[in-house]
Amino acid sequence: QQQVKQSPQSLIVQKGGISIINCAYENTAFDYFPWYQQFPGKGPALLIAIRPDVSEKKEGRFTISFNKSAKQFSLHIMDSQPGDSATYFCAASKEGETSGSRLTFGEGTQLTVNP
């Protein structure tokens, strides 16, 4: 299975700071890169996603930066808030696969935002 490597495993940020989570992928055929947010005891929820035809996508305080040549993408959370404390997963897939367009997930980053 193609890997998606995510770092760091855990991150502690002060309220108002910037949280940055990085992911690297191997399969150059991947063309869809979502980020998921998961709170304890809940299923992951889609946060934001990007396709490789753009280098950046912003939705509110959340921004994805995408570097196709380096095969890396990152999530930036601006003005981090205690309510952002959760586990974040990056993922990647090749769209249109007849085998179900399976998402390959990173291992997750546990973000703690201190008040």
């Binding site: 299975q1 869809y32 304890p40 809940k42 769209e95």
Partner: protein, 111 residues
């Protein structure tokens, strides 16, 4: 709008007992369906996926099986649970482009 239902929310089962977890999707047709397991609150491991009724693909050989008896119903089963089957089980659906929508999960503890 589309919704996904997954039950039960929590389950405690003895070793060697059978298992049946059910997932249903409403508001869409012919979705791709997925079962994931998450251990220790981290790492999503794909167990099974289905692109249509009766079509099941297994990603990891193990003590579990899956079935899709209806278009929007996905069932995860085991004949005899092992301690190592404990975990957080998540069902998800996807149709066309875009990300998965996950259910709320089932916390399974095998004792």
């Amino acid at each position: 709008s589309q919704t996904i239902h997954q039950w039960p929310a929590t389950l405690v089962q003895p070793v060697g007992s059978p298992l049946s977890l059910e997932c249903t999707v409403e508001g869409t047709s012919n979705p791709n369906l997925y079962w994931y397991r998450q251990a220790a609150g981290r790492g999503l491991q794909l167990l099974f996926y289905s692109v249509g009724i009766g079509q099941i693909s297994s990603e990891v050989p193990q003590n579990l099986s899956a079935s899709r008896p209806q278009d929007r119903q996905f069932i995860l089963s085991s004949k005899k649970l092992l301690l190592s089957d404990s975990g957080f089980y998540l069902c998800a659906w996807r149709k066309g482009g875009g990300g998965y929508t996950f259910g709320s999960g089932t916390r399974l503890t095998v004792v």
